[in-house]
């Protein structure tokens, strides 16, 4: 597959990590340029660097990390031709289908090739992947991609409608993965393609429950056993550092201080008002009265304001916003590694605030990708019943 050398060479496919949300791929082609808002680079600059290097741009205004491709990074960087599979589904399917070094695997359809790369990595050069794609343009692109990634020996890509025309294979594969709108139409073909000398497995990837129900029924009719279904997801967590929570006693003290300040202010205003009483302009006195009453209207009991957050304590805003800092790419902040340390609550005056790290699931997560329907095809029953073979084999005979 991809280069396993320590240093980047011309012709290598590399992954450019700009940010977590912006991961791209590149075939290193000296003579070409790579331009992005994270700087301008010549492909030739990459040649000879070790994988994992951090490269600063010629303009000095940005940098990128150059990584070795893995199927996981490729999934982040690949051109989407269809909805793609992600690590949770891929890795569970690889485990359930018992895909390992030397395995012979069928997948249909190829789609964007996310699963294909993972399988090719796991089976290695001693395994084989037969990949089928119905859509001609997608098949062509996938074939080019596999060639570029040095997978041509491992993967055989066929442009074919497997529901109609099957896999052209008999007793050949250890496992079958179907990501098709109507997998039930391919189940009998899959059975033919699977080996019969050991347990083999199938997985059907279906977004909707109705498809699952129909698939389960087809698998059962075709003689597959151990039919089961899983759903798997990844739940990302945000981690943040927050000041140790403030005790309510401190809040009470602050409120009491506020009361005092307000009372002093009121008394001053009244004193001022009395002084200005001599003032011939009644308007001034009225304002004083108003301000006095406004102060009073801040007293603890009254009607709720219709919006806004009222006169909350200063500290409160800080408390209110101590949402965890998003998982920002710290590597972007060359000069300021402290960017992620949230400002201390304004409430705690000078002393360095003790921090705790807290985590919670990100607010928006992937709620569903697909249902994974698995089943096993066991070697057929031997023609003669076992007990006729060796009636004397019982332990009592020893």
């Amino acid at each position: 597959m991809w280069s396993t050398a320590r240093l980047i060479a011309a012709g290598d496919t590399v992954i450019l990590w700009l940010t977590r949300e912006l991961v791209q791929h590149l075939v290193v082609t000296p003579g070409k340029d790579f331009n992005s808002k994270f700087g301008h680079y010549r492909h030739s600059d990459l040649v000879g660097l070790p994988y994992g290097s951090k490269l600063g741009s010629r303009t000095g205004r940005g940098f990128i990390h150059i990584l070795r491709p893995t199927p996981e990074l490729w999934t982040m960087a690949l051109p989407h031709r269809t909805q793609i599979l992600y690590i949770a589904d891929i890795s569970l399917v690889v485990s359930y289908l018992d895909i390992r070094r030397g395995s012979r695997v069928i997948e249909a359809g190829t789609g964007s090739g996310s699963f294909s790369h993972s399988v090719a990595r796991s089976i290695g050069p001693s395994g084989h992947l037969w990949s089928y794609e119905f859509h001609e343009a997608r098949a062509k692109k996938a074939r080019e991609e596999f060639a570029q990634h040095g997978m041509s020996d491992i993967v055989t890509l066929t442009h074919q409608n497997v529901c109609k025309d099957g896999f052209n294979l008999t007793d050949a594969a250890d496992s079958v993965f179907l990501d098709l709108p109507a997998p039930w139409d391919a189940v009998e073909h899959a059975k033919q393609a699977l080996r019969k000398d050991r347990p083999t497995r199938i997985c059907c990837f279906s977004p909707c429950m109705e498809q699952v129900l129909r698939t389960v029924s087809a698998l059962n009719d075709a003689g597959f056993s151990d039919i089961t279904m899983y759903e798997t997801l990844v739940r990302s967590h945000d981690v943040g550092q927050v000041p140790v929570l403030q005790s309510i006693t401190e809040v009470a003290d602050k409120l009491k201080k506020g009361e005092e300040v307000r009372e002093i202010k009121r008394l001053r205003q009244i004193a001022g008002g009395q002084r200005s009483h001599q003032n011939p302009h009644g308007e001034k006195r009225k304002r004083d009265e108003d301000s006095e009453m406004n102060e009073q209207e801040d007293a603890p009991v009254g009607e709720a304001e219709d919006s806004g957050s009222g006169k909350r304590l200063k500290t409160d805003d800080d408390m209110g916003t101590w949402t965890p800092s998003r998982d920002v790419d710290v590597s972007r902040n060359l000069d300021d590694p402290s960017t992620h340390i949230l400002r201390a609550g304004a409430s705690i005056p000078a002393a360095p605030t003790a921090k705790i790290s807290v985590s919670k699931a990100t607010s928006e997560v992937r709620g569903h990708t697909s249902y994974l329907t698995f089943a096993t095809l066991l070697p057929p029953m031997p023609p003669a019943p076992l007990e006729d073979d060796a009636p004397s084999q019982g332990p009592q005979s020893t």
Binding site: R81, A252, D306, L313, M319, G320
Partner: protein, 407 residues
């Protein structure tokens, strides 16, 4: 078979049956978002791109109806059947194999719209011009059509301001301001705290009034709710605005702050007993009376807190939760529920570790809420592709008496 007995007790409602002048109601727009508008009699409601209409057209209407804005007037539409519901989980993936190109340019669409073409006509033209449209599956076709329709439609639906809908709205709008309290968490909190008409409750709500809204809704104007806040002035509970509560519903609520809730503290307030000869005007007199009423209410509320025997305590606060429980649990009656919410498991783990060493907290439990919504369109039933990752952690315990009755 016995016939059910007739019901004669008059129903109480925390809000009116139909849309009233002065309500703040939520409208569901074609893009799925909710927008809050005020329905003030004789005023105009503007929905931006969708256009304007006269608020009076909504006043008196039941909630939940769908309207099209046609020539600045509302046309009532029948509710949508499943066949008409959009597949909201149309893939968000960027399909870049050149199939989903926009067949009409933005300029062309603009021209069509200015020429008065109806949304459905624009869509029809788009479909006709769509290069690969014939290659698409029926399913994709439908998706495409719905997406286009949403873009040009002027249809909206009024949202019944139930606790469920209001909570969902705030959760989508600003999850942080309501401390990640999703509707499943809010529902469990209210049940765990045994909120019912006639109960007496303590609450600390730093969740914009979501907890207060839930308690008020479930009390239905019968009982008592006392909240403790961190502000000088009475707390703003903006979520209550969307609930459109009747005045009776809100009347059960009073508030103290962390200073005035301390029995040892004497609040510093301006004098209210001003000698008659020092009162300079009627206006000043009115204000002094008002000030006195406020002080009386403050004192009554304090006395009420200190008398205790509350039925439950709900805490959803930014402050250290154990310091809150130490202050307020003494005011709970025996067998009362204590419910503490946090967005973070860690905060409640620490609290749990403290509580389980203390005999007055019976059976402390820490739970996380879990909610999943499904799309149930025919042939396309599956959980929604995107969902909220977190909806709260809840700690529950029962207050019991530490003195021991030996037989």
């Amino acid at each position: 078979m016995s016939a059910p007995s007739p019901v004669i007790v008059p129903q109480f409602s925390t809000r009116t049956l139909t849309i009233q002048s002065g309500n703040t109601i939520l409208l569901r727009l074609p893009n799925g978002e909710a927008k809050a508008v005020k329905t003030e009699k004789n005023s105009t409601v503007s929905l931006g791109r969708l256009g304007v209409f006269y608020a009076n057209e909504l006043i008196g209407e039941p909630f939940g109806r769908t309207y099209d804005i046609v020539d600045k007037k509302l046309k009532l539409l029948p509710p949508r059947t499943l066949a008409e519901v959009e597949d909201t989980d149309a893939t968000n993936e960027l399909i870049n194999d050149g199939e989903f190109v926009q067949p009409l340019t933005l300029e062309e669409i603009q021209t069509l719209k200015q020429s008065g073409a109806h949304a459905s006509e624009i869509i029809k033209m788009q479909i006709e011009q769509h290069a690969n449209y014939s290659l698409k599956t029926e399913y994709s076709k439908e998706k495409y059509k719905k997406r286009k329709e949403a873009k040009y439609s002027k249809i909206f639906t009024t949202i019944d301001p139930t606790l469920f809908n209001v909570c969902e709205h705030w959760f989508r709008k600003d999850q942080t301001r309501i401390r990640d309290i999703r509707i499943d968490a809010l529902s469990q909190i209210l049940n765990m705290a045994n909120i019912r008409p006639g109960g007496r409750y303590l609450a600390v709500d730093d969740a914009s009034g979501l907890i207060v809204s839930g308690i008020l809704e479930r009390m239905g104007g019968d009982g008592r709710l006392l909240t403790i806040c961190n502000t000088d002035s009475p707390p703003a509970y903006p979520v209550t605005v969307n609930m459109n509560f009747t005045n009776e519903t809100v009347a059960v609520l009073s508030s103290l702050n962390w200073a005035t809730a301390e029995p040892g503290h004497t609040p510093l307030v301006a004098p209210v007993d001003v000698p008659a000869d020092q009162i300079k005007s009627d206006r000043q007199k009115t204000r002094l009376n008002k000030r006195k009423a406020a002080l009386d209410l403050l004192n009554t509320t304090r006395e009420e807190l200190f008398a205790g025997e509350f039925d439950a305590l709900i805490v959803a606060s930014d402050y250290e939760p154990f310091s809150i429980l130490e202050k307020l649990v003494p005011y709970l009656t025996g067998s009362a529920s204590i419910v503490v919410q946090s967005p973070y498991a860690q905060i409640l783990s620490d609290l749990h570790a403290k509580l389980r060493a203390l005999p007055e907290y019976l059976g402390p439990s820490l739970t996380e809420v879990w909610l999943r919504r499904y799309q149930v369109l025919p042939g396309r039933t599956h959980p929604t592709m995107n969902t909220s990752g977190t909806g709260s952690f809840i700690l529950h315990a029962i207050k019991v008496y530490t003195f021991f009755v030996w037989l």
